[in-house]
Amino acid sequence: MATDDPPQRPDTAPRRGRLTLALLALAGLSALVLGVLVEGTRQRVIGNEAAQVGRTLGDLLPEGSYDNEPDADRILVVSPELLGSDQPLPVYRARSGGEPTAAVITAVARQGYVGPIRLLVALSKDGRVIAVRVVDHRETPGLGDRIDAAKSSWTRIFSGRSLDDPDPSRWSVVREGGAFDQISGATVTSRAVVTAVRDAALYFQQHRAEIFDRPPE
């Protein structure tokens, strides 16, 4: 890089030793600094994430339909077939006067155009979709990213739908004979989301009692 570097001399043991030592010390110091920083901000980050989840749940669930704190009334479930991940995913419960009113299921659409799409699907206790929100995705800007509520209102097409309306076999995009409009130019993304919402509804149908009865963790 710099023009005034001394001409290359052959490596001798003491010079190599000093270089190794200096880099080791620097790496150790760096690890220490980063460790302290991560530890020092951990509580703040956890608070940020919890506040974010609370805000999103507040957006998804109708006001006045619950009197508990759904972000705290949470269980973890695993269902690779229906929820798209072999990792435990949170399910949040909404209750009014102790009676279950709705559940918000976390689901992963594995067949996104770019990568997995993480969704929150709010379902009322009778299995009707209240609202769907995409919480994490890497779909194409301007096309697939219209699954994001901040970019377009497309996810509203699920509101009020259930496994009886339409029948599970018609839970696909119009282009494939289904009942849901795809985002033009983003059929793959749309299909992935429609399928993931249907599977989340199926999961809810099959595990309803467990979802509401398990103690929070």
Partner: protein
Amino acid sequence: LNEASARKSERRVTDNPDLPLVLGICPLLGAVVSLLAGLGLGIASFAVVVAGSMAVAAMRTLLPDRARVRTALLLAAVVTTAVTVLFEAFLFEAWLALGVALPLVAINAGIVVQLAAVAPEQPPGAAARDAARLGTRILVWLALLGGARELLGQGTVLAGVEDVAGALAGLTLHLTPGERGFNLALAPAGGFFLLGLFVGARNWRAMRLGAAPNVR
């Protein structure tokens, strides 16, 4: 490399003051799709190059010359990680939007060259001043690119500002109704097209003023 060809390839870089800058911006192009994203990544880049340069300058007498490049890479990674953690803790909304792209600041060629070749030659104060100058240029380029892509792609300027600071809500300009814009501007390829046009415009101006083009 023999002496002559080494000097020649070195000149190819040093005679192109904007080349490391432009190369350094490239990894970030995928994420710089709005004025706010450009400002966020620009501020992060500024912080990384200034803090990293001061650290390198402070340690310049302790470290062997041959450790310069390795030190620069290590410090760029460390400071970038620190900035990412700080974003996650104190600018959470910005981190949600930029989280994936922030670590890429560490491989900004302009920043690495600054840490490896410029900062080790200077006392910390001068290194910080030099780094701030580079950081400002990166910030301006990213903000211009992000702003242009936002304007072309979705017809707004400064969209989403209310998520970062509620008091600034209403500063957003909506220039086109509806939700469709010029999609190419938002795609990564569109970022490279625009960057190319920017470089072309700068070179055209430089040549009209009788100077050599900034980037060849």
